[in-house]
Amino acid sequence: MKRRNFLKAMGATAAGVGAAATIGAPSKALAAKKADIGECKSLKITVLSETSWFDNDQFKKDIVDNGGASTNQYDIPWDPKNAGGYATLLEIEQLDGTVNKLLLDTGWSNEWMDYVFDRHGIDKMIASKEIDTMVISHWHLDHYWGIESTLKHNDKIKIYGPETMFPEDETLLYGGKNEAKGMVINKNDVPFKGELIKTNPKEFYQLYPGVAIKEFDVPILLRVRGENIIYVNVKDKGIVTVTGCCHPGLLTLYSTARRQIKGGDKIYGCYGGLHISLFENWDPKMDDIIKGAKAFNPQKMGCNHCTGWVWAENAAKAGLPIVKGTDTYKTYPRTSAVAKDTNVFLTNGDTVVF
């Protein structure tokens, strides 16, 4: 090819690209059939504990000293004094007035979770089977390693957990312990004898009218995989997501609701850890989430745990409807080192109704 012809061809190519760019995005993926999860009257959330650990710096140090965010959580000799836990009580009022109680997660430190369960009467609710079902959001230490605190009140409680369990998770569930570098990092003396429903991303698991679990198969830090999300469809209000850590991303949950849940195009709010600024750092991605969240027009956003105070503060400043917490958390024996007076987190002991 001659040089002149080549340069002409280059010009034509550039024009072609310009034209192609105006065509727009290509075909969309086929929408999945929408699931009908029904409706409930209201959802009340009680924050049993959102302080999975008390000292962010110590938690980060444990991770950094042992290889970083992708290392196996079972290979890290975590500082036991720093362990807290994450657990939430959901009270779902049905259209006929009955109330279903559901436990989300079981924390990390048994000592801490025993205190939390006792304070809120969760131990008695589990023992009396007022709470007969627990959802494990994912297999991270701060959501699951406190399993004994639940099982000692009812070892047959029905559990929903992501199918992507690792052998160490099973060891703990069925009455065992795990060690890291010669140190016992977790134990469970009450073997689980109930039904474990391993959730997969292909379906919605309906618990009650208006309440369903959806598993998102995503790789997560500390060698964990998959997270269960609780979708609640509140009559006349819309979809509320309840999350442990929300690793799949809040807006992905909303987008999934729009595509896959009947009536899911109306987003009402969220509660839980949103996994945005776990270590109180910043990144342009966090600006993206604020901007993207506005597009879904949520009415009530309750957040805590791994959301990051810095993100919640900036989101509130940007006009997102962040529900403010109270000072109840100060009545707990321990508090998080990152808690601030801005109260943009729903903290330990707070409640919110959707």
Binding site: I220, R223, E280
Partner: protein, 397 residues
């Protein structure tokens, strides 16, 4: 390259040895869970791999210090030089000189000393590493365009070290401008409060659906693959049209290389992201994992890097596989082979079993923290060392 009958057998043996070396080095330096040093955090490891890749490029392609003999011993000096340059650039220049006396964000320790929001060793090192990665991307991109279009021009005929210093000065200067425009705004938005007096906020936010510079990483890596393919699988066409016996390149050649890198990179990214949208729906601002526009952009770079790695394997170990009288047919077949090999690598890396075991990762797609770029760049750097410093011994004769 002169071929012999033994080439493909030697190539196969060398390739197997390279896999063993690759696995050993990955496990030693990077593997995040079962590794020794666990440097893949991910940005720290990724930036280290990128700096080493550039160091090899600098020694071999900028300063022209290549071993073109069958004497393996002659490769040791440039190899050591590349390691020394890597160390000096990363730890002395960025961490201790530039970071301490010029631009804070290049040094984790300097960032920590500011006491800024969230700036402890973990975040500070990741932030510094991201900035260093962006600098290296600009340097590698500009250097490859320069080498493709200009060659050694306008310093043809001068001593190697003169050419080297001149090329390095020119490419480093131009890279600084590209870095400032395409990457620095990301760093502006990386801190609280935003550093708006030191840089503009990401100007591409509206078109890229993200404030992240991963957008530019996508089309730049894609452009690099296209340049590599034209250089290595099409004998440098069309850039060879702008060369002569006296001049190894020209202004027009450089402009053509730049246009092809940009336009070609965008076309590649457009096609790659169209395919992603078909499988994962359209991305949206603030989405996570496969919904995240950042991931789509960086995934374009990841795909391009798989293709580049495949191209290097096919070229270095298997002598580009085919050579027909018709150069267009040769190019098409080579493109098919390289693309196929690239997709094989892609499916290997993202498989549920083999890939995750090999690279020590949790299976799944869409996790930016598990980006494949670190592994592909490390792998390309290794092949570059074998090719440029050891003349692909014993494949070539």
């Amino acid at each position: 390259m002169t071929t012999t009958k033994n080439n493909y057998l030697f190539g196969l043996i060398a390739f197997v040895v390279m896999i063993v070396v690759n696995f050993a080095l990955w496990r030693l330096f990077f593997a995040p869970s079962k590794g020794v040093f666990k440097l893949f955090t991910p940005m720290y490891g990724l930036s280290l791999a990128a700096v080493y890749f550039y160091s090899v490029m600098l020694v071999a392609d900028v300063f022209g210090w290549k071993n073109e003999t069958g004497n393996v011993a002659k490769g040791i000096a440039p190899l050591i030089s590349s390691v020394v340059i890597f160390y000096v650039v990363y730890y002395v220049f960025f961490w201790n000189i530039l970071g301490n006396f010029g631009i804070t964000y290049f040094s984790p320790q300097a960032l920590i000393a500011t006491g800024g929001t969230g700036l402890e060793i973990w975040n500070a090192r990741e932030n510094s590493s991201l900035a260093i990665l962006f600098v290296m991307t600009a340097l590698i991109w500009v250097t490859m365009i320069w080498n493709t279009g200009f060659g050694n021009s306008p310093w043809d005929g001068l001593q190697k070290r003169v050419i080297g210093f001149s090329k390095f000065s020119a490419t480093a200067f131009i890279s600084t401008i590209f870095y400032a425009i395409f990457f620095h705004p990301n760093i502006t938005a990386l801190f609280q409060p935003k550093q708006i007096f030191a840089g503009v906020l990401p100007w591409w936010d509206g078109i890229a659906m993200t404030a992240s510079s991963f957008y530019h990483l996508g089309w730049m890596f894609a452009g690099l693959f296209i340049l590599m393919f034209l250089n290595d699988c099409m004998d440098g066409f069309p850039f060879n049209l702008f060369r002569s016996e006296e001049k190894s390149g020209s202004w027009i050649g450089a402009v053509v290389a730049l246009v092809i890198a940009v336009v070609g990179g965008y076309i590649f990214m457009y096609i790659a992201e169209a395919i992603m949208s078909y499988y994962w729906y359209e991305p949206f601002t603030g989405g996570n994992y496969t919904d995240d526009p950042r991931f789509r952009h960086v995934h374009t770079a990841e795909i391009a890097a798989f293709f580049m790695l495949a191209l290097m394997v096919v070229k270095v170990f298997f002598n580009n596989v085919v050579e027909f009288a018709n150069k267009w047919l040769t190019a098409v077949i080579r493109l098919v082979v390289v693309s196929g090999a690239g997709m094989l690598l892609y499916f290997f890396y993202y498989s549920e079993t083999l890939g995750p075991v090999y690279v020590d990762r949790v299976p799944g797609t869409g996790n930016i923290d598990a980006t494949s770029l670190c592994w592909t760049i490390m792998s390309m750097a290794l092949i570059l060392v074998y090719d440029k410093f050891f003349n692909a011994f014993p494949i070539r004769k």
